[in-house]
Symmetry: D2
Subunit: 280 residues, 4 copies
């Protein structure tokens, strides 16, 4: 397996889309050496954006983690799956109250559109008829034993759209452990309810379209000018390949160095480049 | 849709396999008139058994519900999916401690084989290497927010067999509401872990084989002599059709009278008879 | 079920996206009365486009069917899934020869990008290493008994992208009969090969994005100004809902009038309007 | 990865179930040295059976391949998935004509039950109402381009049981090439028709039950006395583990020596033993 130098390959592009976790940061914080990479990008006038499957925090909160680590990123450089879900709500949900699974903080995505929100915990027989949609935002903020059943029964009684604002099944919580993400709960609910939910997040190309359109406003580039950098073949690389931009796999997250080749072969998802990390 | 009289059709058989919930009982207790049906069976010397997807209670406990309602059933007439799981453990797990998701009571199925058991809540880094299997028994008895993640991380670290002792996704808790069954949690875990779990329960034919072999011991009959009665096309009817015995769908549970025909057509699962209920 | 008048609801929009088969035409030709609908749209200055899952014919050929029936449509009003696949090839396949399943005519989509093409029938051990991608275009033009096996073995030996340029499983060939579409063959190959193929066509939102961007060039409108009209819930309506435009289901194609309500309820895919047809 | 000697481990058992292809033979014929293994079994009075996913040939024809190679096997030692399908037809299909996909020879499985048979090629509007079931037996004997569509339209018009008598997706035809098996075609049809087909063959435990019951007639043994030997984790090993008998994986077929460990880890299907081959 031939490894490429990130700094070398990135110089061919005008814009970089970075996945966040496993690429720029991990469970210990920002990846060591990341400041050099950011400097390299800025010196070469290469614009960069974060594309993250996350609906639990706002772009400002997501940017703050980087700022706290000494990497200055403005919120307008962050594209989250929550923002794509918000777009859907803006155009397709025009009445009623939106029920959510997640923390109260995560519900700000919904509130931003001007819709009333209610935690799944507070849904009951009296207000059930006012619910116009169910949005899955975060795995925290509710009692799984009680509220997952509440969601199931709500969906058996009301034929409303269900938005899953993060397609990831799990997320890392330490070096060795993961936790179930809201996308995993969404997957289970969808199979039990047997209705079609509406999923937002990579590998779906909608998030890449959104990011691409967003870039155009300030920096008109072609698809050829953009590189997607990710640590997960069937999330970052699959989606960006399909969208038609170049792709670089890094080995600092989900894809372990000794398994990269076999996974590429087994899944049939081929990145244009493989780099040990975004540093160097 | 032509409806058959249960008492008429059952007279052609020597043995009846009944699904329990939605057939003989519902959320309010035993189905009204059920005593007449049982009398009819006994008068005609038709032997009957319960085949139930349940691993939370022992055959004796399952039988007691009927005895309490005035229908005398001995535990040896009850075949539960927990018993099939127990058979697997008996032959294939010979060492270590079996971790379980469920109540302590449900773990008696495992203990019966002579294996040590430990609730998923008590699994930790120190005892993890002693775990030889994980068994999913009941949706109660553990904290979903904490212990589902514990199960996920156990299975990422240890390549042990996972037994799902009940394939149902939900079960009814009142006239209008259902609750997530352990089979639904198992389905989600299997998709997240991407390993093959071992599922026991209808529609798998293994439970019908077990019941058939069990019947032979006291009452040697042929497959032609047995009728399976169930309320769910893709559980009871599918499995019994495949096993090669006759099938009767009743409309007192999961399959609503006004949707039976369209479901039979859509799913392609055709019962030999359709009866309004097991009464009359 | 409340039915809406198409002429009435369409007046609220500036642009209409029509699915073709089952909406504007059927196995007998253009739907009777369609000329009045087109006149109505033109009188009200409502722009319209065809969005069709078809990679077997060029936009010009697809438009010609309408012109022959007396409805004048220019090729630039036709968006086919073949065009989206072509975009992918343009950006992501830069070398070699593209193998295809389909008629020679359908391969023009690939040739348009400047890539060499070869029918799967002509692939052999000598030229196999020159194949840079496999594209599934049409169910005709090859011998299924021989060439499906050829495709399977090509994909076992070469880790190349596979593009499925039409996601439909079947297409109608007469009042009562359907035929397997190339999307159905693609689905089977993907399950056998166990690699991720790249699918283009509704309900994927990429086709709606493409159409939306295409409209902007001549007619800058917002998502609120567009109505998608389709006959299939899980293709046209699902995709357009997710993309964030309004949707109207018509009952002249895949969705039979007496089954519309139950399908909407069962699938959980809800159109904004239901019209008997696009006429009236 | 610790490798076991087949001759050593097999001595602990009274009965061996062998998968055929990839275990006892390959594309070149019987595996070299197989006669010694058979001698070893006979000297130690270890009974053996073939369990094969094959519905294209009768047990007698399947046995003949071994006899021609100098290994004497009587047809009663061969259990094929076609025999399990035959059992289903015997008990559940009592009228009409059974349509089949396969060679005329393969239809003998159906004829044996006393049912009339008709090749899918000969089904037409006139005789369609007499068809009581569709059976998928072999990938040869019909024109895929024409007859797969015929099968699709038959199943859209008639709600009849569909029996897939071999669950394999592909089978090897030479050192490097495979061909689509009838199980792969069945998988595709099932997804397109969206009805539940009835599948027979490993890893389903029904075939193990059938073999176990068959053994009992002449040689009463317990599950502990039986070893299943196979080359495919998710077919042979998965099914036999679930049935509750011991399992040995051999590396002469589908599972390559350098990938065995990673596949066991990834799939979570763990054999009791791993042997290089059944020889030695």
């Amino acid at each position: 397996m031939k490894l490429d130098s990130f700094n070398e390959i990135v110089s061919k592009y005008k814009v970089v889309f970075f996945d966040s976790y496993g690429v720029l940061k991990n469970h210990q914080g920002l990846i060591p050496g990341i400041h050099d990479t950011i400097d390299h990008l800025r010196q070469h006038h290469i614009d960069f954006y974060l594309l993250t499957n996350d609906a639990s925090r706002s772009p400002a909160e997501l940017a703050q983690v980087y700022i706290d680590g000494g990497v200055y990123i403005t919120p307008d450089k962050v594209i989250s799956s929550g923002m794509i879900a918000l777009e859907y709500l803006r155009y397709k949900v025009s009445w009623g109250t939106v029920a959510y699974l997640g923390t109260q903080k995560s519900s700000h995505y919904v509130a931003q559109v001007g819709l009333k929100t209610i935690s799944i915990s507070d849904v009951n027989d009296d207000n059930m008829n006012q619910i116009s949609a169910l949005v899955l935002l975060d795995d925290e903020g509710f009692d799984w034993n009680v509220d997952i059943n509440k969601a199931i029964n709500l969906l058996r009684k009301r034929n409303i759209p269900v938005v899953v604002a993060n397609t990831d099944f799990t997320y890392p919580v330490s070096k060795n452990d993961v936790a179930l993400a809201i996308g995993g709960i969404g997957e289970m609910l969808e199979r039990i309810i047997r209705k079609r939910f509406i999923h937002f997040g990579k590998p779906d190309t909608q998030m890449f379209h959104f990011a691409f359109d967003h870039v155009q406003k300030t920096n008109p580039v072609s698809k050829n000018d953009i590189l997607m950098v990710g640590d997960t073949l069937n999330i970052d690389i699959l989606g960006a390949n399909k969208f038609g931009i170049d792709t670089a796999l890094v080995l600092t997250g989900n894809t372990q160095p000794n398994r990269a080749e076999i996974l590429i072969e087994t899944m049939g998802i081929v990145p244009d480049y493989i780099c040990e990390s975004v540093v160097g």
